[in-house]
Every structure is written in structure tokens, then in C-alpha cells.
Amino acid sequence: MDINLLINAIIAGLLLGGFYAAVTAGISISFGMLDIVNIAHPAFILLGSYIAYSLNVGLGIDPIAASILMLPAFYALGAFVYQVYYVSFEKYGQESLRGLAFFFGLLFVTEVILLLIFGVDYRSVNAAYIGSSLSVGPMEFPLRLLVPCVVALAMFAGLELFLSRTFIGRAVMAVSQDPTALRLMSVDPTRIKRIAFAISIATASMAGAILIVIQPVIPSVGRDYIGRIFAICVLGGLGSLPGTLIAALLLGVIESITSVFYGPSWAPAVSFGILLLTLAVRPSGLLGR
Amino acid sequence: MTEPLLQVKGLSKRFGGFVALDNVDLAVNPGERVGLIGPNGSGKSTLVNCICGTLHNETGSVTFAGERMNGLIAHERTRRGLARSFQLPRPFMSMSVADNIRVPLLYTVAARVGHHVSKAEADARCMELLKLVALDAKAARSPRDLTQVEMRKLELARAMAAEPKLLMADESMAGLSHSEVEDIVQLLLRLNERGITIIMIEHIMRAVMSFSQRLVVLVSGRKIADGKPDEVIKDREVIGAYLGQ
């Protein structure tokens, strides 16, 4: 086995893993803490990718900068979606079947709309850092992976700080464990959940921009990520952001090694295989509550 | 000396770091009426859940009618005659009141007798149980149309439909009026007259005292008293931990 190849596969895997962590952070909040199975999350990410693409191609803005500009819009979108979800389902305790069907429909509709607008051609962006690499000895750090990874980790860290240090952040952590206690503190659990869900969708904006820097996209790419997101969420343990990070890095490395040594066509099976394995053996994940 | 119908030995249950039940022993004789009391969070419902198999206890054993229950899943315990009603009524909302009663008949009783219960027989038994709890007029209605006390009665009737040897009635009277409480107590007494052993988990002391032949007190997961009701309520520790409040 070529040791160079292995080292670079691991590095690429770690960088990719950092990105996966950012992609999953949103679901870690909505599913891990709020118990809302938003399988449409990848569709929102793709939405972020395409908006970043449009701004990049149309106005020449750097995709990641564009996504930051779009954060308020995505936040508003998330708040709106939660409101619909809450009024239709959560209020009546009917989440399971109908909530799942709702989000599945949302995933599908978003994908089709993107397909109608942008077609089936792969889209990619232009940014200064795509194409070159940072070399440190035998190790290669492709900038198109490194920059997004750094941004992703920064976003992830910011999220973790928000949840542990701010009042609203801690209220979000509390609402998943004890909504009654929150009410006693005269904080409306519904409002907190809406904020949390809106934040999770806002993360999709940045995750989408990062995605399109890393690889060209077509609307169906979202589906590849459903498996990765839930595999990471379950493997890391629901509701645990540090667990999500570890699981994401792990998945990134395993996928990268599989891709390099067995071929990229096996990559989708890796995440779903890990998911099935985790569900069968240790459903609470590595660091689960 | 008769063998106890239910024998719980050394039962412990933890939730993460929190000890919900700590080495609980309990023996209930056939036909007995036992009251189980204790402050909120003392582990009463956890004990019920562990006995009937909804939760797994880490240590200790549950023996029912001479058979070890460890490892048996909830529906298997119900089939052996161990039934419980839920604290917050959980009727099957998509079915009629009568159909709610039908389910345990179709599954538990049929499993026990080894053959299907015929439609006519199931209908007859349903009506009999509904008459017992005075719900026969609402047999075809949805559980949504029932009042609070009627839902509690449905809950008990459904547990009864499984033809249990032992019934654990988990706080069936919370939030009911004076006469409604009396209603339920009378119902449980009638059930006991038919030979069913009953464990009543309750906060309403009046009901517990008038019903129980024996009183068990649970505080912070430990059993602190077990004996005749008049003696237990005079016990200092019990007064300090629970009754004095």
C-alpha cells in the first residue's frame, strides 16, 4: 500500500469530515435537540449552493461571502417552515407519520424546483482558492478542501459557543430536555424551538456554499447527503455537537479511504452502511444522551 | 402458607446517574388489595413499569405465579396475567370504545386459551366489561367523546379485558371529584371480589386507606414501610417523608 496515498486520503478525509460536520450541525439541532426529523435539510443545503452559485456567477461575489449575506433570509425561511410544521403537526402531537411525509415532500419539491430552474448540468463556482494546494512535506492540502473545512469548523465552533454560552443557546439545550422548566422561567418553548430550527436552516446556507466550493452540484446531490447527515448524527449521538464532529471526521476518513482504494462508486454505501450498523449495534451513538 | 402471586426481589433501576429504584422488595399474595404510596418522583410508576416489562431493571428479579419474568417483554407478561392501567389514559384513539376493549381479548385471552375468540364471544365479553364500568351506552363512540372519569374507567376496563390475575392501577383517580373517586374505588373493590389481586398506586389517601389491606410506602426509590395501613400511617418515617407534607 502506497503510504503517501494513504496519508493524503486520510487528510482529504479529515478535511471533508470538517465540512460534513458543518453540514450535519443543522440536523444535530433540529433532530438531535428538537426531535424534528427534517430530512429536507439537504435540500436547503442545495438551495444554499445554488443561491451562492447565482450570486457568484451573476455578481462575482465569493460564494462563502454570499452565503453569509444570505443568512438572514435562510433564518426567516427556517422560522416560516417551523411555524407551518408546528401549526400542522406538533401542536397536536401527530408528528411521526405526517411530519416525516411533510419534510419528505419538501425535500422532493425543492429538488424538483431547483431542477426546473437550473437543469441537470453540473454547476460550479469560481473562487481564488480553488485549484491550488498547500504542500507540507508529503502531505497535500488542496485549498478547495482546506478553506471550506476551516470555514466549516469556524461555523461549527461558533454554534457550539452559542449553545453553551448564550441564554438563548442554553434555552435551546433546555427545551429538548425539560420544556416545563422553561415555561416556569417564563420562556416560551415554542419560540425557542422556532429560533433553534431557524438557526439550523441558516447553517444550511453556509453549508451549501461550502459544498459548491468543494464539488460541482446538481439538484440530486442532496440525496447523497441524507445518508451522510443521519449516519453522522446517529453515530455521534443525538444532541451532542462534539459527538457530531467526531463522527463526521470518522465518516470523512472512512469514505476517503474507501474511495481511494476501492473506487468512488462505493462511497454512498459507506455512510448508509455505517448508519445501519450503528442503528443495529449501538443506537445511542458514541456520545449520545 | 400460600405462595405470593407476585414476588419482587432486590429490584434496582437507574437512569444514567439517577437511581430511580433502590433494592426494592415486594411480595403480593393472591387476592390481596395492596396500596402503594409515596411522594412524587419516588419511583412508583417506575416500579410498575419494571414489573410489567415496559422498562428493564438492572438488578433484581420479578417472579409472577411462580415464573421468572426476567427477560420477558411486556406483552408476554400481560399474557401471563400481569396487567396495568396507565397513569395518563392511553386509549386507542382511532377505534371505538368497544374496540379498545376488544384488543386485549383478541390478543391476550386468545393467546392464553390457545385459539381465536369468536366474534360473538368477543362482543359479549366487551359488553359485559363495558356494563361493569357503566360505559355500555358509549360503546360505539370514540374515546375522544369521553369525560375524564370515563376515560379512566375505559383504561381500567381495557386492563381488565386481558383477564389478569393481578392488576396494577396507576393513579387512576388523579384529578377526579369526590364522588368520581368513590366510583373508581367501588369498581376496584368489585374487581377484587372477582378474585383479581390489585395493587393501587395513589396519592388520594382517603381512597388508599379505604381500599387497602396492606400499605407499602416508597420514598426516593426505597421501600420504607410495608404493613397494615393503620400502623403504617403512624410510622414516624412515613409521616416525615410523605404524610406530614
Binding site: G105, F108, L116, S265, L276, P283 | T78, F92, V103
Partner: protein
């Protein structure tokens, strides 16, 4: 209505439909009708687990494709009998192969049923949500395996050449149509039988309150496994004739997400608590899709399905049947 009478009525209705289409003698109607019948089977199958038990299956495409690729596998085996089989087995194999379509259907059902059993055994002890995600995972894992398996064509796909004509009936498509009609009768009878039996009560309790169901003596895991196996097997059976219907199979189209969306949307729009609900949804939505694909585009068609699904889930969760019930009960109230 007792079941044998019901089956007789179904057979009469099916025969009538078939004879009418034969009289019109337009092959396109058979091709389009086959698709609608296929959807009836898929959505009725989905509903057994989804509507009756409340466990959502996102991987309908996976079970369907198991039937598809079982057929493709056996077809390819048949094309290469001499290379694959040892000398002493060859005469026997040549006598058995090519397997008749009904045998392919049965085998497709068995394979899909077994996979359903395995998946269910692994994941049905967990919350319904995890089961749903696991079914999605299953579909992708299966697709990846197929893509990497060159014997069944891999990503390039496989050509399956059906016989041109069939004795008595004539065009092969009519034979497939007839078989699919039989599958429709089978799945509708199954669904209706379940609904009226003890199993139906058990399924409903699982949907309503699994914990209470267990306390009432319902063996929830066993029932869920039964539902999963039945549902998966029916989907596999629906998939088995597909390669012969379409002629060219590649993983992208066999595992298409639209199968998952349709098999959820059709029961939810028609009504999940009645055996005829999925059929109603399949006929309405299936016909609508045929029209939309031909007149507008297939992408817009999918958009309509997705929007209808969301709309019904929010506003009319009991489907058209539910709306009808509400409307009639309002009218009967004084």
C-alpha cells in the same frame, strides 16, 4: 361482504377492464394502464406498513428494485447458461430456464420479503423515525451494490428483450398487464383481509400507541415484522415484470426517488385507513401524472406530486376518503 365474494367481484371487474381495453385495441392504453396498476400495488403495499402500522417506509424504490434486479439476474443467467452452469447441471437448467414470468414474480417477492425481514429485524425495535431513515439507507446501499455489480449491468444498465408475442393473447404487453392485474387483486385482497382481521386491530394499536398495545398483550415486534415482510414482498413482486415492460434497466431509473414519493403520496392522498384509499390515490395521481408528463414535462409532473403530498399532509391528512367521511357526517347531523 365475505372475502371469496369480494375476490370474485375483483376478478369480474378486472376481466371487464381487460376485455374493454382489448376491444379498443390501443397498445398505448395497455402500457399506460400497466403503470397505473403498478402504482396501485406499490401504494397498497406501502400502506400496509405505513398507513395501518404508522411506520413510514422511504425505501419503496429499494424493494421494487429488488424485484427488478432478481428478474434481470435470472435473465442474464439464462442468456449465459452454458458458461455458468457445470456440465452435469446443464440439461436440467436448460429445461427450467427461461423461468416463466409468474415464477419471476414469486422469486422477486421472496427476495424482497427476506430483505424486509432482515432490515425490520435490525431496526423495528427502535423508534419509527429510525426505521424510516433505515429504509432510505437500505435503498441507497442496494443501489450502490447494483451499480457495482457488472453481471446485472452495473451503471451501464442491462437490456432485457421480452418475447414479442404470447399465445392466445397476442402482444406481450397484454400478458404483463394481466399479470399486474392479478397482483392488484392479490394486494387489495390482502389489505382488505388484514383490515377486517385481528391483525388489523393489532396494526392499528401499533399506530395509535405502541406502549399501550404491548400492555394489552399485542406482540408489536412480530406484527411489525409481518407488515414489513408483506409490504416488501408485494413491492418486489410488482418490480419483477418491470425489466420486461421497459426493455432497458439501469440503476438510476429502477431506484428512482419518484417511486418513494409516489408510494407515500398516493395512499396519503387517497386515504390511509381504508384498503381502497391507496388505489384511489394511485388511479387519480397516476392518471394525472401520465397527462402531465405528456402535456407539460416530467419534472413539472413530479413537482405537482410533491406539492399535492405536502398539501394533503397539512390540510387533509386522512386523504380524500377522510374528506368524504367528514363531508357526509356533517350532512347527516341535524
Amino acid at each position: 361482504m365475505r372475502t371469496p365474494v369480494f375476490v370474485l367481484l375483483e376478478i369480474i371487474a378486472g376481466a371487464a377492464l381487460f376485455l374493454i381495453l382489448r376491444a379498443v385495441n390501443n397498445d398505448y392504453l395497455f402500457f399506460a394502464g400497466y403503470t397505473v396498476l403498478q402504482f396501485i400495488v406499490l401504494s397498497t403495499a406501502w400502506n400496509i406498513l405505513g398507513g395501518y402500522c404508522g411506520y413510514v417506509n422511504f425505501g419503496s424504490a429499494g424493494f421494487f428494485a429488488l424485484g427488478v434486479y432478481t428478474s434481470v439476474f435470472l435473465y442474464t443467467v439464462n442468456q449465459n447458461l452454458e458458461e455458468l452452469m457445470p456440465e452435469w447441471l446443464l440439461p436440467l437448467m436448460q429445461a427450467i430456464f427461461p423461468l416463466p414470468m409468474p415464477a419471476l414474480i414469486l422469486l422477486g417477492g421472496i427476495v424482497a420479503g427476506l430483505v424486509g425481514l432482515g432490515t425490520g429485524y435490525l431496526t423495528l425495535r427502535l423508534r419509527g423515525v429510525f426505521f424510516a431513515i433505515a429504509t432510505l439507507a437500505l435503498a441507497v446501499v442496494l443501489q450502490t451494490f447494483v451499480v457495482n455489480w457488472s453481471f446485472v449491468g452495473g451503471s451501464r444498465g442491462a437490456y432485457v428483450i421480452p418475447p414479442g408475442t404470447v399465445p392466445i393473447l397476442g402482444p406481450y404487453i397484454q400478458y404483463l398487464f394481466l399479470l399486474m392485474l392479478l397482483l392488484v387483486i392479490l394486494s387489495l385482497t390482502c389489505a382488505r383481509l388484514i383490515e377486517r382481521s385481528r391483525l388489523g386491530y393489532g396494526f392499528a394499536t401499533i399506530r395509535d400507541d405502541e406502549l399501550a398495545a404491548e400492555a394489552c398483550g399485542v406482540p408489536t415486534l412480530r406484527l411489525k415484522l409481518i407488515a414489513t415482510v408483506l409490504s416488501g414482498a408485494l413491492m418486489g413482486m410488482a418490480g419483477a415484470p418491470f425489466p420486461y415492460y421497459i426493455g432497458y434497466v439501469e440503476p438510476g431509473s429502477a431506484f428512482d426517488l419518484s417511486y418513494a414519493v409516489n408510494s407515500i403520496a398516493m395512499p396519503m392522498i387517497g386515504g390511509t385507513t381504508w384498503w381502497a384509499g391507496p388505489m384511489l390515490g394511485a388511479v387519480l395521481l397516476g392518471t394525472l401524472q401520465q397527462i402531465a408528463t405528456v402535456t407539460i414535462s416530467s419534472a413539472v409532473n413530479l413537482l405537482i406530486v410533491g406539492l399535492l403530498l405536502i398539501g394533503f399532509v397539512i390540510a387533509a391528512p386522512d386523504g380524500i376518503i377522510g374528506l368524504w367521511h367528514t363531508w357526509t357526517s356533517r350532512r347527516s347531523k341535524p
